[in-house]
Amino acid sequence: MTMSKKHPKPEELVAIDYQPRRRDWMDPHVEFRKGTFNYSANPKSMEYLGLPFVRKWQPTEDDWKLPPNWKEIILNGLRERIDRFRSLRIFMDICVRCGACADKCHFYIGSGDPKNMPVLRAELLRSVYRKDFTTAGKILGKLAGGRELTIPVLKEWFYYFYQCTECRRCSVFCPYGIDTAEITIIGRELLNLVGIGIDWITTPAANCFRTGNHLGIQPHGFKDSVDFAADDLEDITGIKVNPSVNRKGAEVLFVVPSADYFGDPHYFGFLGYLALFHEIGLDYTFSAFASEGGNFGLFHSHEMMKRLNAKIYAEAKRLGVKYIIGGECGHMWRVLHQYMDTMNGPADFLEVPKSPVTGTVFENARSTKMIHIAEFTADLIKHRKLKLDPHRNDNHRITFHDSCNPARAMGLLEEPRYILKNVCNHFYEMPENTIREQTFCCGSGSGLGTDENLEMRLRGGFPRANAVRYVHENHGVNLLVCICAIDKATLPGLMDFWVPGVSVGGLHELVGNALVMKGEKERDNDFRGTPLPGKEEKVHV
């Protein structure tokens, strides 16, 4: 026996699979390591939604207890979708594998796992399409890039379609506009046909279907939350606001993501909305049934998205409002902007949104009849309708994270920046290739923002955090502002891990801090209860 065999070098000891083999991308292989995948859907929630093949299973188990004809179900499902969505067939056929998208995905950048290259993520589905739906593939199989749909392939779909946040960054760089997010959406739909889904999407969707919001809060609970916030706001500003719930005949229905009235730091932005609407005397109401703007149906299937979205127009109709304003949320806007009109519209019982304060008509919302609160507020500021004291936000050195959906799906790029520049004095942009259309995802969108896959999210969020670190180190940035409920829930952890010293806040939290309200008491604290600049001593006495 040689010495080296007796005493392996550290590298030999550790390197058993240290240097990964170059695997053929066609070779399906995944390892469900703790921290990198999501738990399966709770059978109770599946039952509630009437989903097929309800059963107990987990990704780590060998046997996923698939129905015997699972393959047929999926292939039929794929065939149906290829016929139904012209875009899908085009995306399947036209990719020339130029590689322009390859290094643009945050999961690939953060992990170095080649199957996180958008082109290969899409290839997971495309290879099966090729094998079964193209003549060349049927005859040549593997030679033509076709792959048989097998259980390992299915497991690979699950692993990688739940490692895509449907953020669409890759599509910005594709010369053909191929949208890998759409492919992921279809991939997940197909998996759901055989009862493979994740709990962080299915249970919120079930709650939403039952109570109108992801958390399962019932109408009286919703009303309590709104009243609670009004009391908190009174403590801070001395002003009693009277938000209404389910009030018929109001001019505006206001819809927010449920995290706004429950989560930290979302809640402080909710106080900001209440302050703002009170100050301008907006005639608005909440609905205790459309008490969720977010729509986890988008991450499940087209059908589920439609079911969960229907309540918004239904409530607008029941309450007899003229139009709808929506709060700070990401994917909610993707659904509203891209799908709602065709899915549950036309909303011809509503009017084109017109600001009662400035008279501005929001022509861009002519068909959906729903506007983003950032558009609404920016218009108020532009017409000098708000008295703002940006010094109240002087404790913050701010940067802005473009949330993927408002930025890429609806082009809401200028309004939030315009508002920020009016409500604070210290604003610094992150580097160009990480903002606006090229913004890096938080790594937790599309229903992946739960705790069991935190490790994967920290990987995927690294490119975002890395850009924040740059402005933190170079400009002393200490607050990352965003307009998405998922961002607000997941960026704080991302910052703690990668860029300690940066907290996360919402746009309307800063608006609320800066807003000078008629008859308000002298404010000592901001909405978080932290002393305002110059008030520190007084509070500490």
Binding site: P10, E11, V14, A15, Y18, Q19, P20, R22, R23, T36, Y39, S40, A41, N42, P43, K44, S45, Y48, K56, W57, Q58, D103, I109, G110, S111, G112, P114, D199, W200, T203, P204, N207, R210, L215, G216, I217, S225, F228, A259, Y261, F262, G263, D264, Y267, N433, T450, D451, L454, E455, L458, R459, F462, P463, N466, A489, P492, G493, D496, F497, W498
Partner: protein, 177 residues
């Protein structure tokens, strides 16, 4: 201060070390990790490039290795959330030792002493690396809890708001199986 012969090899050592680190990723990713120089487009590759330079510089200059805690943290933090075991995540320091040994010829007792001193410094870095790695992992567990609490920030104050039949249970395999 290390001997002149090794000092001349600094760039070679650095280059070999970086290659060894990059080899821990899939061969399909190594071109990207090495060649994309934009620090925002390729933060992992950039961090490897920058921090390895920092470490080799300090080691060869005889600088205080405690100043390397930040560089080590940057490298290990990334590896602590990628698909590496603890030993795989920290192996790169042992690889540095090997590379330096391969690049040097020890010709005198003085050389030998200098080499031993350098290796000892790398060993200290390796110990530091283990601490950093486990701190990162602990932090991940803390963050999980912190997020869950923040999500229900208001529920903490008002616990009867949620109806009980479908709470977000089942979100762990134990309750679910």
């Amino acid at each position: 201060m290390i001997g002149d012969s090794l000092l001349k090899k600094k760039e070679t050592v650095l280059d070999k070390w970086r290659k060894a680190i990059i080899a821990s990723y899939s061969p399909d990713a190594s071109l990207f990790l090495r060649n994309q120089k934009n620090q925002f487009a390729n933060p992992v590759g950039f961090t490897i490039e920058k921090e390895t330079a920092e470490i080799v510089q300090t080691l060869f200059d005889g600088g205080d290795i405690e100043t390397l805690a930040i560089s080590l943290d940057r490298l290990i933090r990334i590896r602590s959330v990628q698909d590496f075991t603890p030993s795989q995540a920290t192996l790169f320091l042992f690889q540095l030792k090997r590379i330096i040994r391969e690049e040097t010829t020890v010709e005198s007792a003085e050389d030998y002493q200098k080499m031993a001193a350098l290796e000892e410094r790398i060993d200290s870095l390796a110990l530091l690396a283990f601490d950093i790695y486990s701190r990162c992992r602990e932090q991940i567990y803390d963050l999980r809890l912190k997020e869950i609490k923040a999500r229900a920030f208001r529920i903490m104050k008002d616990s009867d708001l949620i109806s009980l039949d479908i709470k977000q249970e089942g979100n762990s395999p134990h309750e679910n199986t």
